[in-house]
C-alpha cells in the first residue's frame, strides 16, 4: 500500500530510554533524541505523539527490560533471601556494560515528585506498590515475624532500595554490595 518505516520502534525506544536514563526528562531535548535515535522529529512524533509519550514508552520499555529480574524475584521461594538476591541482581544489572547509572524509575520518581504529571505518577506508584507487595509476601514467609515487624521491615527495605538506586549513580559496585550486606545483617 505504501512506504515502509525505515526504523524499528522498539529499537529507537531503547535508544531514547538510554538518554532519558542518563540525563533525566527535562535535560533531554528533542534535538538530543533525534541524534541518539537516529530518526527525524517527524518520525518521533508520528510514532510516539510527543516527548511525554516517548518518555512513557521509554519507561515501559525499561520495566520490560528489568522484568526478568522481577520474575525471578517473584518466583523464588526462600523468603527474605530472595529480597537480598533481588537487590544483588538489581545492582548487578546496573553495572552491566551498556547500562546507565542508577535506576530510571527512581530517577523519574525524584524528578517528578513535585510535578503534576498524573500519567507518570501513576506509573511510578504502580511500580512501587508492586514491589512493596512482593517484599511483604516474602517477609510473611517467616512465621516468627508479626504483622507490625513485617510492615516496618518492608518500609525499611523499600527505603533501602530507594537509597541503593540513588547511590548507584555515584558509588562503586563494591560499596553498594557492602551496603546490601549490612542492610540484611539483622532482619
Amino acid at each position: 500500500m505504501a512506504r515502509k518505516k525505515e526504523y524499528n520502534e522498539t529499537e529507537v525506544v531503547e535508544k531514547a530510554m538510554h538518554i532519558f536514563w542518563r540525563n533525566g526528562y527535562q535535560t533531554t531535548s528533542m534535538q538530543m533524541l533525534e541524534k541518539e535515535m537516529g530518526i527525524n522529529k517527524f518520525s518521533i512524533y508520528s510514532s510516539f505523539g510527543n516527548k511525554n509519550g516517548l518518555f512513557l514508552e521509554s519507561l515501559k520499555h525499561y520495566k520490560s527490560r528489568i522484568n526478568s529480574i522481577f520474575e525471578k524475584f517473584k518466583k523464588a521461594d526462600n523468603g527474605i533471601e530472595d529480597i537480598k538476591q533481588f537487590f544483588y541482581d538489581s545492582v548487578s544489572s546496573n553495572f552491566e556494560e551498556g547500562n546507565e547509572k542508577g535506576c530510571l524509575v527512581t530517577n523519574t520518581y525524584n524528578e517528578f515528585s513535585e510535578s503534576e504529571d498524573l500519567l507518570i505518577k501513576e506509573q511510578m506508584n504502580s511500580f512501587m506498590d508492586g514491589l512493596k507487595t512482593i517484599i511483604i509476601e516474602k517477609l510473611k514467609m517467616d512465621p516468627s515475624k508479626d504483622e507490625e515487624t513485617i510492615i516496618k521491615q518492608a518500609n525499611f527495605l523499600l527505603l533501602a532500595k530507594h537509597g541503593l538506586a540513588a547511590a548507584a549513580r555515584v558509588n562503586t559496585k563494591k560499596e553498594i554490595e557492602d551496603y546490601i550486606e549490612m542492610t540484611f545483617k539483622n532482619l
Copy 2:
C-alpha cells in the same frame, strides 16, 4: 550617592533556594524565579550574575541554613550515637513547616551527576567529603572497631543518608524514623 536596593539579597536568595529545592535547577525558569523572588530579572542578574550563580548562592545559603545541625553533630562526643542523632535532626528539619521535601544537596547531587558543571560538582564533593570525615571520626571513637569495619560502616551510613534524603521526598516522617532505627540496630 545613589538609589538604594529595594530588596534584601539574603531574603531573595532564601526564596530562590526554596524554588530550586522544590523543583530542581532545570525545571526552575527565570520567570518563576522573578515571581517567587518578587524582583525583576535585571535585579537578579545584577546581584547574582546569572541563573547558575543564583543557584550556587542558593546552595551556599542552604548549607548555612543547616549549619547549626552540622555544628551540633561535630561538637557532640558520643560516637555513633551522634550520627544517629544527626540523622534524626536532618529528618526533623526536613519536616519542619516552611521547608521543602528532601535535601537540596542530594537533589542537586542526583540532578547533576551526569553533568559537567565543575563548580557545582565541587560544592557537592566538598559537602560529601566533609560528612564522611565526621562520620569516620565518630566511628573511630569506638576502640573495638578495626579500620576495615570503620570504612565499611562509614560507606554504609553515607549511602543510608543518601537514601534517607531521597526517601524524604515521598515517605512519611514515621517511616523514615523507623528506617533510622533499623539502620543503627547493629552497628
